[in-house]
């Protein structure tokens, strides 16, 4: 059974290989330890977890090579069948422990047919050891079935599906540049942020980051089931459950690789139906991304789509017909991504979308089947196949999407935002910004 809160409360976890394979003719002990190290590193590279090897019998993650019934309720069954298991986090003595079937022929850098790739299985099992359950997602390392080797452990990158799931448990690992202002008291030996994933809201954004509660977004997109809100050089991300991954925005260039380094923002983004590639628009150019890397040969002119060279305000795929809609000023176009051609009879007047304002910031569909149109700090909802805005709209983007729950003013710019009210340090920051000394300090 999965414990109700299946994650570690601590972020520094110890591990050791307690027992090695009885007949270790295929893999030496050092190789096994190295593979365990890299399998754990696959998770700690992206989540704020630290794993360190110890010799103690009190290690959080005890790793054993054992066989048959070994008194934990999960007897192994000889070669094939069940090959390994791990225990979810928790207070129990066995929490985090990971067992590999010693009857398997464990291998490393061998063809699939020659045995079980220890690194691949270890990455999967350590996923359990930090709290992830099995998933049916085809690309996931947490699929229950052995899928063969996964490549070089030194270069292994977790599938996107698994990254998102571990981020939902522990948050995103901060890189050095994500830390708050450089501080002499901070050193590599005291990674203060690593222990505080739940308290990320106390971390102030740097001086030039926009305020998510009062800004008008450049682009909003529904990508792989999640929502992305783009503003300037930054973006915020919401999970499928509409949970904001972090109050702090991430830099576009640090996640979406291949855009120009001097890009100051994007106009519109959508996930292409069919091949699920992601298309970024900026001015008269567009880029096609496979996952989070731009493909070669881009940017290209948006005339490829049959769009005018003035650029686009918004792009989204309507769930109703799987067609892509582009908006510019008070006109819209309908594009068939499967045929890669613009439908005839377009552009049309946006007035056909009753209640939707012209000159949109962007639009997207969401998992509830509705389409959402964004402009300024407001958004409009159109349900299912309707071309008319639902009653009660527009509503506040910040309040409904970006955790600005305390925002009360219709003019957020004149009011302290939620971050400022919630966190005294943020309030101080705003107050100080009004003094010439602080402004000077920031710009220097």
């Amino acid at each position: 059974a999965l414990p109700p809160q299946s994650k570690w409360n601590k972020r520094h976890l110890s591990w050791r290989v307690r027992t090695f394979p009885k007949e270790s003719h295929l893999l030496g002990r050092d190789t096994i330890r190295a593979l365990m190290y890299y399998a754990l590193k696959a998770w700690s590279d992206i989540a704020p977890l630290d794993f360190h090897e110890v010799a103690s019998s009190r290690a959080d993650i005890q790793i054993d090579f054992t066989k048959a019934d070994h008194n934990d309720g999960y007897p192994f069954d000889g070669p094939g069948g069940t090959v390994a298991h791990a225990f979810f986090p928790g207070e129990r003595f066995s929490a985090g422990d990971t067992h590999f079937d010693d009857d398997e022929s464990w291998t490393f850098r061998s063809p699939d047919s020659h045995g079980m790739d220890l690194f691949a299985v270890a990455v999967h099992e350590f996923g359990h050891a930090i709290g992830l359950a099995h998933t049916s997602a085809m690309e996931s390392i947490m699929r229950p079935y052995y899928q063969g080797p996964v490549g070089d452990p030194l270069k292994y990158d977790l599938p996107y599906e698994d990254k998102v799931r571990v981020w939902q448990l522990y948050g995103v690992r901060d890189s050095v540049s994500h830390t708050i202002q450089p501080d002499d008291s901070y050193s590599a030996e005291s990674p203060i942020l690593l222990d505080l994933p739940e308290n990320r809201s106390i971390i102030l954004p740097s001086g030039d980051t926009p305020d998510r509660c009062s800004t008008a977004f450049d682009a909003v997109a529904h990508i792989r089931g999640e929502a992305f809100f783009f503003k300037g050089k930054y973006f915020w991300r919401l999970t499928r459950e509409k949970h904001l991954v972090s109050l702090r925005p991430a830099e576009i260039s640090r996640f979406w690789r291949g855009l120009p380094s001097n890009l100051d923002g994007v106009d519109a983004i959508y996930e292409r139906p069919g091949d699920h590639k992601i298309v970024f628009f900026k001015g008269v150019k567009y880029w096609v991304f496979k996952d989070n890397h731009a493909e070669e040969g881009y940017p290209r002119p948006i005339s490829d789509f049959g769009l005018p060279m003035e650029g686009v305000d918004a792009a989204f795929v309507w769930l109703h017909n799987d067609k892509t809609y582009f908006f510019k000023d008070n006109q819209y176009w309908r594009f068939d991504d499967h045929l890669r051609q613009m439908d005839t009879g377009y552009p049309k007047d946006m007035a056909l979308w009753k209640g939707v304002p012209p000159k949109l910031d962007d639009a997207m569909r969401w998992s509830d089947g509705s389409s959402y149109f964004f402009k300024g700090t407001e958004y409009w909802q159109l349900q299912d196949s309707a071309m008319e805005v639902e009653p009660g709209f527009p509503r506040s983007v910040g309040r409904d999407w970006l955790l600005c729950t305390d925002m009360q003013s219709d003019s957020p710019a004149t009011e302290p935002n939620v971050t400022e009210r919630t966190h005294p340090r943020a309030r101080n920051h705003a107050d100080h910004a009004e003094s010439s000394y602080e402004v000077c300090s920031c710009t220097s």
């Binding site: 059974a1 109700p4 934990d72 999960y74 099992e125 085809m138």
Partner: protein, 87 residues
């Protein structure tokens, strides 16, 4: 399709119980399961495994059941509602 042998059926039922698709066997009735429950469990397993949801232990399903895998169940129940003493 060729009908399943009793051994294949037993193997299938054991597998589905082991990985969370069928409730643990009742200590009184042994392995008896309703046909509806079995069909539903097979469909759930097929869906989770990315197979066509036929609800029968067809060849593809049996092959997947023989694929090496992790011991932990695919479908997990909340701990407080579990009547098992350990995971």
């Amino acid at each position: 399709a060729p009908s399943l042998t009793a051994s294949q059926m037993d193997t299938g039922v054991d597998w589905l119980s082991k990985f969370g698709y069928l409730p643990p066997p009742d200590p009184v009735t042994g392995q008896l399961q309703t046909k509806e429950a079995l069909t539903k469990a097979i469909k759930a397993m097929q869906k989770f495994g990315g197979l066509e949801e036929t609800g029968v232990l067809d060849q593809a399903t049996l092959v997947l059941m023989k694929t090496p895998r992790c011991s932990l169940p695919d479908l997990l129940v909340p701990e407080e509602s579990s009547n098992r003493g350990r995971r």
